[in-house]
Amino acid sequence: MTLQNFQAWAFALLLPLALLTNPAHAVDYFGKPDAPPDGASVATPVPVESRIVLPEPLSTLLGAAIRLQSNLNARLRTELESVRDGHSSGAALTIILASFLYGVLHAVGPGHGKVVVTSYLLSRRTRFVHALGMSSMAAATQALTAIALVGVLAALFGTTGKAILNHAATIELASYGAIAVLGLWMAWNALRPNALLSCGCVANRQDAHVHHDPDHEHEHDSTQAGRHIGGWTHLAEIITTGGFAGLRPCSGAILVLLFTLANGIFLIGVVAAVAMSIGVAITVASVSIGAFGINRLISTTGQGQRWTEYVGRGVAFAGALVIAAFGAIATLALSTGVIAPMVG
């Protein structure tokens, strides 16, 4: 199966499946799994983020980002309320700005596909524009899934907000499954002949022999790499990875969309969700560009050497395995209820 096929099938199957099936673990309004009907108490292990404390100054910075985010959220709410009440002068601009900044800060926390996107960019030779494209794809998919969920289910079918959050949790589970499969596919891809390489220096085995003269080698190398990493397969891989990384809808956007829908100002909610996703894209892109830069820095060393092909393959393979493992562990942990769904 080609990547394009895989991508199309995965999207075509995952979304309706997620919308039609009942969530594996339904959660209540407080993000807590519903207790079993017999009333037995639910085991509540202290979650990992309560046990592990980030070193200073990271924990303080994360705390400041969260407080600022809470303030922006409150500001956004106030402005949305004033639009609902008909006092909309200047509110739209404030809503867009607050949503955008909220998105920037929101993505500082865990989630938003940063693990998948950075693993990919760290382990493979890509272009700067690919790093940007992948981050934007992740953020845009996240916003569109949220808009589609609320727009279709709540607006057309009157689905409750709680059910929508649970559907989002199902999509989350499905997206991690897809990421696991995608990671395995990439790992296999990294091993086969003419694979995309981490260093990008030897795109083709036959070309490897002719690298004797350093000047020629350099020129030849960039041409090869340029042609190869700009290929359609590569582009499809970038788009798919970004898309899957962002398939899980952003609950922050869902809550704003639900609020605006309930108050008859859904279009404002859509604008806010888009502004949020642009903010998310900027944060994810900053992280991605860092990963891209590190890969470039490392892969420049020993460029054109025969051994770099093997190292490149190894790194690409390892990166793909990290992505597969991330998807698999997340799927397993979510489906067994070790960790609670719906976050982000």
Partner: protein
Amino acid sequence: MTLTGIAYAMSPVASAHPHVWVNYRLEFIFNAGRLTALHQRWIFDTNFSSMVLHDLVKNYRRGEPLTPQETVALRDNAFANLAHYAYFTHVWSGTHKANIGKARSFTAKVVDDALEYDFVTPLATPLDPHAQSITVGIWDDSYYVDVGPTMPVNAAVSLSGISGCRALTAKDHTHPLYFGAAFPYTVRISCS
């Protein structure tokens, strides 16, 4: 350090930054010198309030009081499940964690678009504040819900049915939330 990194990276699937905000007022109810129950009032953020009211109160009209049936709908669908999570209420007698019973006297109302819950959480065993110091905190370990006292903090807490005791509210740095990004408040009862 590596472990922290892995945990942080994995946590998109663990519960994340708050999605619901609650401000509480807390009344400690003493009977015959022992703490028997906590009277809690939770005030939700208006976004959460809007979603829950839209979901559970059919034809909700802003400004109109909730009917008894609507209150029951809120209790059953957007409160009762918290019993399995002790209503996020943590109580210690000295270093011993005390058990919370099922909440009673649940009522709900909407004030300025904010949903408010009022309820009483009884203690499984009454606690003597003179024998052991009592500490109470209300927080969600997963930080999906950000729970904190109304401001100013000292006005959020009151004691009834006892004299000679006072409540001290402070940030509790022994219970980090969300990788140490936030710390909950706890109330300590000290008696002379």
